[in-house]
């Protein structure tokens, strides 16, 4: 997948939410190696989800 495709696939959000199988996680992790900017995406997504979890 290209950068835009992985960003729009919804897989990063599922990855950060802990809802991907081992195989799917490996796919995301391969893309992180290919496009290091995805680590920054995951920080933003992770922080947003953490703020949400802290509401409850």
């Amino acid at each position: 997948m290209e950068l835009i495709e992985i960003r729009e696939s919804g897989m990063l959000e599922l990855y950060a939410a802990g809802e991907l199988s081992g195989r799917e996680m490996a796919v995301v992790e391969e893309h992180i190696l290919k496009f290091p900017v995805l680590s920054e995406d995951l920080v933003t997504i992770g922080n947003a989800l953490e703020s949400y979890a802290r509401l409850f």
């Binding site: 729009e8 696939s9 919804g10 897989m11 959000e13 599922l14 990855y15 950060a16 939410a17 802990g18 809802e19 992790e29 992180i32 290091p36 680590s39 995951l42 920080v43 933003t44 997504i45 992770g46 922080n47 947003a48 989800l49 953490e50 703020s51 949400y52 979890a53 802290r54 509401l55 409850f56």
Partner: protein, 193 residues
Amino acid sequence: LEVKEVINLLQCKNQKGLQHLMDNYSAALNGVIIRIVGSQLVAEEILQNTFLKVWNNIDSYDNTKGTLYTWMHRIARNAALDKARTKGFNMHEKTVGLDDSVYKTGTETDLANMDIQKLLGSLDEKYKIVLDHIYLLGYSQSETAEKLCIPLGTVKTRLRYAVNELKELVKNDKKLFMGLFAVLILLSIALWN
């Protein structure tokens, strides 16, 4: 403490790091665990095991793959789901709902969170419900699709939309906080003069 410092403490096997995790992350992680296992007693055990795992495996945490919280959340969620499955109960019937009984009391909720909570009202229920099922209730993508009677692809797009909205809320919330802070500083300068 900055997250980086906490990670350093944990890597050096300094108990202060563990204490910091327990003080700062217990409530959020417990909220997720208890919704999956439906029992405070079981949730406490899983929470302790989660911290123990984090303590023992901190060297395998890789910050290119997400935040420390993301990693801890994944450990807690998986442990809770494993426990729910081994107990053989229908976990989604026994989970604690998203009702007020498990919401934090006002004193535990900080000001920033209250602002986000207010703003969250603007997030359409159809997006929020997907986020809640996957992120807080431990449902898989396919379980969420089945429960909400929507296609799997829609689960993905709605989750993504909900997270994007959340990112905006967090960003605006920080701006609001910085704005208030600036006003306070200006006021103090004005008063001082």
